[in-house]
């Protein structure tokens, strides 16, 4: 298919606005009479609230209102269960969702207890310091394994234990696989994923316009439509009385799809109580404590293989940390359970997952959303197996890849969309070959590494593969209209947080309508403009919203061609849309402007056909029958300082396949951004709570995100295996880059340090300090 805009490396339309500070972010909203909100948050991880004294704070000039749980009356209620548990037989699941303000008990550091409204944020914070909460501390549950101990303190006292869920999924018969196996390898793995640390924290402005009887809310959410519907229901308003705008957002990465944060519930309510606009902008310290995390899992995993490296089966038992509540259901651990099987044809699998409550912040998806944990376990098992069998790490992967003729491939394990994950399409070896060629794998192993080792340098290489189930339903929608101005307006319900929608979505429309992308005006995430949809998550924007836009643009194109065919007295097949005109290819002098057709489609007088829709407009929806499975192989060369254990990434090659690329420049950016966060996850970032549940990493001094200084140049290669499940043939790419970095990193580091010590790294992240300890342990063993 030859295309005009799809597949073009177009620079991003939104960047001039973003880079020159002219884009609207939530904190840019200033309204007359606006008040500011600060929260008193729990200093204790676990405790009983005995009393709250707000009397001193109320005396501070400029303090307008102070609310505790008691003041909320009937409005106080636990949040909704956002994602129900998957339909797995024998499942155990206990929904315990977050509350707007802690009442009786606090369950994690950072849980809001009191809301203060004041004339300025300064005054509000001064008032917070003058509120005294009497908390009787309870022992905190911080360790995943100890959370299930019979004498563990109960976080939710109406439950018998801290078990939030227990799910067993399997395919084939693992016991049979073990019987046939030549080699069985079993290890304990620990994987800890951190926080999104988006550049922009959360923020909300809520404004009740009493005369119009409408509530407007600017919210840094990934799901404005769902927020609108939920808030309307909570406040007893009609959905049409609530407008939620998700303006430009400085990164989201998952935690901003969590609903409903206490602040989202409280601000609109208080704005109506006080009849004043309210603003709350989360500060970085609050973000670390009170925006959702992803955190750790402990796996005991086992792999059974033949002596020539063919996988017969995998068994895994793991514990997942849900934090104090589980409003997001089991999305993260289900993704781990399902994605663990990765790129490999594994006939027998047994996976037992337990989810526990702890006295820590709630865990919800963050870029990768549990897939990292599964991929880490699988890739490490393969590395250990390769070492045991004396095989090359790339050879064992090649041997076990799902062959191209087995697609669609049924992985059989239920995924986050409640259906068994079926890989729609894939072809893994060509991508591996491209990656190996670019990084010059053979040459490195045979020539460069021996030479550098002889010079006393510790350099190593790694190669890992992964899949990512993307683009799940249920659906998104879009409206496309050619205006009488000649401009095209496009609206969709998903919000935008830096993905480049103002370019990639526009390219899809321009492809069909042949108008200059500069003449296409896109609105995302404003419920007054478009109020159907679920949100931006799970690497689904282009797959789901993109295909809805594609479908709406196609329908508008059909309308245009029909009208133009009558107008130009030419058959539809002879007409082309380009530069804002429809032209008769056989008679180039015969053409009509889209804007003139738009006027004719919406006449002020005269008759139109009885069943005709006015205007050159169409609304379409797209719901894929199931997700599209992207895949990748990454390779890395590192050098380790054998004394300080600092690690330098000398080369990074990311090979990725997300089907058809609408804008390869944006795809490159998505993969690179993901890899950067993956490098953070592998080597720099770690949320640390002490055994009392105190958060020790609540600033960027202690929580280390990689900067441009730490992220190397990332070389990219792509293959394009289209998805058969959607007309554009696209697969999601948002999370891809972040998924394989930690297992890749530790594989390369092990390889680099091999002359120093035979390491077996079964955990991530890894720090220089931890490498130092592992090397010491390995040397003591020898």
């Amino acid at each position: 298919m030859s295309t005009r805009y799809i597949g073009k490396r177009m620079k991003r339309n939104e960047d001039p606005r973003l880079l020159t500070g002219r884009a609207l972010f939530t904190d840019d909203v200033h309204l007359p009479g606006m008040l500011h909100v600060a929260f008193l948050r729990s200093d204790y991880a676990h405790g009983r609230i005995k009393g709250i004294d707000t009397s001193f704070a109320r005396e501070i000039p400029g303090v307008v209102a102070i609310y505790t749980a008691e003041d909320l009356g009937d409005y106080w209620r636990p949040g909704p269960l956002l994602v129900p548990p998957p339909p797995v037989e024998g499942r155990v699941f206990h929904a315990r969702t977050q509350v707007p303000l802690a009442r009786d008990k606090v369950r994690h550091v950072g849980e809001p207890i009191v809301m203060v409204v004041a004339e300025s944020r300064y005054i509000a914070e001064d008032a917070v310091e003058q509120i005294f909460v009497d908390i009787e501390p309870l022992p905190a549950v911080t360790d995943l394994e100890q959370a299930l101990a019979p004498d563990a303190p109960l976080i939710h006292e109406d439950l018998d234990s801290n078990l939030a869920a227990h799910i067993i999924q399997q395919k084939g018969d693992y016991a049979e696989a073990v019987e046939k196996a030549d080699v069985v390898i079993r290890r304990r793995f620990y994987y800890d994923h951190g926080v999104a640390a988006a550049m922009e924290n959360r923020g909300i402005v809520a404004w009740w316009d009493g005369k119009a009887e409408r509530l407007t809310m600017w919210d840094t959410t990934q799901a404005p439509v769902v927020i609108r519907n939920g808030i309307a229901a909570m406040l007893g308003l009609s959905e049409s009385q609530v407008r939620v705008i998700a303006p430009f957002i400085g990164g989201a990465f998952g935690p901003k799809i969590m609903m409903f944060y206490p602040e989202e519930v409280l601000l609109p309510w208080a704005a109506m109580q006080l009849n004043r606009p309210l603003k709350w902008i989360e500060d970085r310290r609050e973000n670390f404590m009170s925006t959702t995390h992803e955190r750790d899992q402990i796996h005991w995993a086992e792999i059974a293989l033949t002596k020539d490296g063919k996988i017969l089966g995998v068994k895994d038992e793991f514990i997942h940390d849900s934090g104090a509540y589980d409003p997001y259901g089991l999305t993260v651990p289900i993704n781990s359970q399902c994605t663990l099987l990765g790129s490999y044809d594994i006939p027998n699998y047994y996976s037992d997952m337990k989810v526990v409550f702890t006295n820590k912040m709630i865990v919800t998806p963050y870029r990768g959303a549990g897939r990292q944990h599964g991929v880490f376990v699988m890739e490490r098992l393969l590395d250990l197996a390769a070492r045991e069998l004396g095989m090359d790490v790339t050879e064992i992967r090649r041997k076990n890849y799902i062959p191209p003729d087995k697609f669609p491939y049924n992985n059989e394990i239920i995924y986050q969309d409640f259906a068994p994950l079926v890989y729609d399409s894939g072809n893994y070896e060509p991508l591996l070959d491209k990656v190996l060629a670019l990084i010059e794998y053979e040459k490195f192993i045979k020539e460069e590494q021996p030479k550098l080792r002889a010079e006393g340098r510790y350099v190593g290489i790694g190669v890992v593969s992964y899949v990512e189930g993307t683009g799940i339903g249920p659906y998104e929608g879009a409206r496309v209209q050619v205006e009488t101005t000649g401009k095209v307006n496009v609206a969709t319900g998903v919000g935008t947080q830096g993905q480049g929608h103002f370019t990639s979505f526009v390219q899809v429309v321009a492809e069909h309508l042949g108008v200059d992308p500069k003449d296409i005006y896109l609105v995302t995430g404003d419920t007054d403009i478009f109020h159907w949809g679920t949100g931006t998550f799970a690497s689904r924007g282009m797959v789901v919203a993109g295909n809805a836009i594609n479908s709406a643009a196609e329908r508008v194109k059909r309308k245009i061609l029909q009208m133009a065919s009558q107008e130009l007295e030419a058959p539809v097949e002879d007409l082309v849309l380009e530069g804002g005109f429809v032209r008769d290819q056989r008679h180039p002098e015969s053409f009509v402007a889209l804007k003139d057709l738009a006027v004719k489609a919406n006449p002020l007088r005269g008759a139109v056909k009885a069943d005709a829709e006015p205007g050159l407009e169409s609304t379409a929806y797209f719901g894929p029958e199931r997700g599209a499975t992207a895949f990748g192989t990454h390779a890395m060369i590192v050098e380790v300082d054998p004394e300080t254990f600092d690690v330098k990434i000398l080369r990074y090659v990311a090979g990725h396949d997300c089907g058809v690329m609408v804008n390869p420049l944006i795809v490159d950016g998505q993969v690179r951004g993901g890899v950067a966060q993956g490098i953070g996850n592998a080597f720099y970032e770690k949320i640390v709570y002490d055994d009392q549940g105190q958060l020790l990493t609540a600033s960027f001094m202690d929580y280390l995100v990689p900067t441009s200084m730490e992220v190397p140049h990332i070389e990219l290669v792509h293959t394009e295996t289209p998805s058969p499940l959607n007309p554009l043939g696209v697969k999601g790419v948002g999370e891809a880059g972040a998924i394989p970095v930690a297992p890749l990193f530790v594989q390369a580091v092990e390889n680099a340090l091999a002359p120093l010590a035979e390491l077996e790294i079964t955990e991530a992240p890894i720090s220089p300090n931890r490498l130092f300890e592992l090397v010491q342990e390995a040397r003591q063993k020898v």
Binding site: D646, T697, P768, N769
Partner: protein, 296 residues
């Protein structure tokens, strides 16, 4: 992350500033570059009732040659000014080599040398440098002025010999002994982070090739910049070779420090790094003393 209320003064002269410090005493804090003080206030970890902003006072920002061949540096000199100053590059290569290790360019544009010294962060470079070079700090108050040797100035965790009404106005960095070798090395998680461990070494050899002057100053390993006195004792009067350096480094790690543990590094890793960095800095310093080019 908003500071509690405070009164703010922006005096135009040093005398006014000193008068304000005398008047407000303990509750007053001097604002220099603000790179540590302002975040600390925003976190509400510090709540001074009065800020005395020194940024409008002329004549506190300069780099001059001292009569002894060293440098006199005004307290309000920005890090970037020392980093880019040709006199510094020429007369004090160790200070020159130190500057890029301090924070990031944005921080060095605002941060001041006097501010770093007064703040006395145990993981900061400049306090340890002042001890390595046996510098002096000029403290001034409405009562008069005095020079405090760096060895007496730093008294513990964020604690200095400054009285509550005193301001630092000038730093004196004596020249390195002619023909001496020097080095700075630090290990930080990311470039620009506070060091997990850092080390300065300065040494000089006599005509017979024996060490007749040595200073090893460490940061990030205690409650302030500290000298590795045992290690220095091991080297003094000795002919220096790899073995002597290894012995000194081991002594520094085992006897001179009792490092803290935190989320970034355990005490035992820090001890290991002291050993590594003392070896590396001494090796580089020795090479420089022998007249070799060293690229760190």
């Amino acid at each position: 992350m908003k500071p509690p209320p405070f009164d703010y003064y922006a005096p135009d002269t040093l005398d006014e500033a000193l008068a304000l410090m005398a008047q407000h005493g303990y509750g007053a804090k001097a604002l220099a570059g603000g790179q540590s003080l302002v975040p600390t206030m925003n976190f509400r970890l510090a709540a001074p009732s009065v800020l005395v902003d020194l940024n409008r006072i002329p004549d506190l920002s300069y780099i001059r040659l001292a009569p002894d061949g060293g440098l006199l540096i005004g307290a309000m000199t920005r890090h970037v000014q020392a980093e880019k100053n040709p006199k510094v590059a020429d007369k004090h290569p160790l200070l020159h080599a130190t500057m890029p290790n301090i924070g990031h360019p944005q921080i060095r544009n605002r941060g001041t040398l006097g501010g770093s010294i007064a703040h006395a962060d145990p993981a900061a470079e400049l306090p340890a440098l002042m001890r390595a070079v046996q510098g002096r700090i000029k403290a001034q108050s409405a009562r008069g002025s005095r020079w405090i040797p760096a060895d007496d100035f730093f008294q513990g965790f964020f604690t200095t010999a400054l009285a509550e009404d005193e301001l630092i106005t000038e730093l004196h960095l004596p020249p390195l002994p002619a023909g001496s070798g020097w080095a700075i090395e630090e290990v930080a998680r990311r470039h620009g982070d506070f060091a997990l461990v850092g080390a300065f070494a300065i040494l000089h050899l006599d005509g017979a090739g024996r060490c007749d002057h040595v200073r090893i100053s460490l940061f990030g390993v205690g409650d302030g910049p500290m000298l590795a006195t045992t290690a220095m004792g091991v080297l003094r009067g000795e002919k220096l070779d790899d073995e002597a350096i290894a012995t000194a480094a081991e002594a520094a790690a085992q006897k001179d420090v009792d490092p803290p543990s935190d989320v970034h590094a355990t005490a035992s890793f820090r001890r290991h790094l002291v050993n590594v960095l003392v070896q590396r800095t001494l090796t580089q310093a020795l090479a420089r003393a022998a007249g070799q080019e060293v690229t760190a």
